[in-house]
Amino acid sequence: MASEQTGRSILKIDSLCKSYRKGVLVNDHVSLSLNRGEIFGLLGPNGAGKTTLVSQIIGIAKPDSGRIEINSIDTVADPGYAREVCSFQAQTQVPISGLSARQAIELVGAVRGGDSRAVRGRADELLRHLEMEDWARKQADVFSGGMRRLVAFCMAAVVPGRVVILDEPTNDIDPLRRRLLWQEVRNLVNMGSTVLLVTHNILEAERAVDRLAIMDRGRVVAAGTPGSLKGNGGENMRFEVTLEPRAELPATPGFLRGMVVTGRRVIGRLEESDIPEAVQWARGLKETGVAEEYSVGPITLDDVYLRLVGREDAVEDNVKGRTR
């Protein structure tokens, strides 16, 4: 085994391609680099190729071409190394029927080579931090989907790998424990791990991640910090108008760009200097009974995401169609 590198990047993916049987390219020249000690978000709609990418990192699937390196070691050639240094929370449910939460967590801790006393202590800590003590001795068969997922998270976090891969960790989890879970994810970084977080939940990702990549149709369509992705030249504000029911969309002024219509909501980007004019336009719509309300604020990652995953063209066509 090659000696470990101490460079900035811990996980490097270079021009990775993966197709399944019918020739559909699920990952299309994906390149990513995760820095040590960061939380890196991987966002994208269903079918974007996120889980396929993760399967290749962990060595369950094999790329058609391209490279994956962890600590500068080629893990396509040596998937065993990937399993040693990565701990993984799968999107599918973990096989813990018949086990108590504590047994499941401690077993994985032991399997990952943890010392039994240290594993027990860490399991205690996780169960306490995630307010799961009452469930520690109960059999997983009676757990809700959310509770099973929390146990799965603990299994990935009990003896964390140098890279911890979490595939949709907050699905089905109640809001209170979600907050606690995010603290534990940050805690993993404080313990020296790097976290690759796969999620649909843009709002949560925006708060949790240091950097992120957005995938769509197998390709990385954007990567950077949440701030850098939101900065789109001068148009870093969002303007939203809610139309009255059955009102027709009026012609939109030129300073509103990237119009997206979802139901009665019309959202566009604009420059800060255009806000007064936009407010005046929206007031006019309200007075003439076209708009119910409007709002203005900084662009969110949600807006960036919607724009990037290729839905905007269709929506803009829709806008044109409805514009008088």
């Binding site: 998937p79 599918t92 813990i96 068969d141």
Partner: protein, 245 residues
């Protein structure tokens, strides 16, 4: 080696705990099937003689062990494949064959009490003598392990998990009706007898008969053929579970 053993013990614990809720029930079912089989053959053959009973009873261990290896194991694997269990298990830093070995151990241990019961009950119920040799231990273990590995190979080799489940139904039928376990191979049509001279089933029955009774059996050939199939099942299982999608 020490690490492999540690992984094996941990996965064995995992499998035992996972199956804990159904293990006692499974054990009871195995015992009931074994006892039912022994008593049931008396209904098939009301005038059964001790020597016929000896022949039939000593085929029972092979049937019990094959039911576990070729039916239960593929069904459990098919269910695990459907549930995505392997997406998680294969991500752990444990050799995949170690996991399979731990899983197989649990199922073999569950099947053994039924095997022992069927032989003892048969001997007492039909009043025949047994001539047990020490070779019975490797013989029974070899039948069990060969069955389980062939079962894993079928279960992991089936393109869809449901196909493996369907295959088990065909296998049950084939073993119970068209295999020379409960009757001599000469009673089969020539072509089917030829097939069974290659398949391991007849030799598995020979192994249990040859080590439990004084019936004349070529044990060396039986060990060789079943051993060969065991190796084939092992290699096929290894190759199939080592695949990356």
């Amino acid at each position: 080696m020490k690490r492999l053993l540690r992984s094996y013990m941990l996965m064995l614990k995992w499998q035992a705990l996972s199956n804990k809720p159904i293990l006692p029930l499974n054990l009871v079912v195995q015992l009931m099937i074994a006892a039912g089989f022994i008593i049931g053959i008396g209904f098939f053959y009301p005038q059964i003689t001790p020597s016929t009973a000896k022949y039939l009873t000593t085929g029972a261990p092979t049937i019990s062990l094959l039911m576990v290896g070729l039916v239960l194991v593929p069904q459990v694997v098919a269910l695990s494949r459907t549930q995505g269990t392997y997406d998680y298990i294969w991500s752990l830093p444990v050799s995949r064959m170690v996991y399979v070995a731990a899983d197989a151990t649990v199922w073999i241990l569950v099947s053994l009490p039924g095997v022992i019961l069927s032989v003892i009950l048969g001997a007492v119920y039909y009043d025949f003598g047994l001539h047990i040799t020490p070779l019975v231990i490797p013989a029974v273990l070899l039948i069990a392990v060969a069955g389980v590995f062939v079962g894993y190979a079928i279960a992991h080799g089936a393109p869809k998990p449901q196909m493996a489940q369907l295959a088990t139904q065909v296998i049950v039928f084939g073993i119970m009706i068209f295999s020379p376990i409960m009757y001599p191979i000469d009673q089969l049509p020539g072509w089917l007898a030829a097939v069974h001279r290659v398949l391991p089933v007849k030799y598995m029955a020979d192994l249990s008969r040859g080590t439990l009774t004084d019936l004349n059996v070529d044990l060396g050939l039986a060990f060789a053929v079943v051993g060969g199939w065991c190796l084939l099942g092992f290699v096929a299982t290894f190759l199939l579970i080592s695949r990356r999608h």
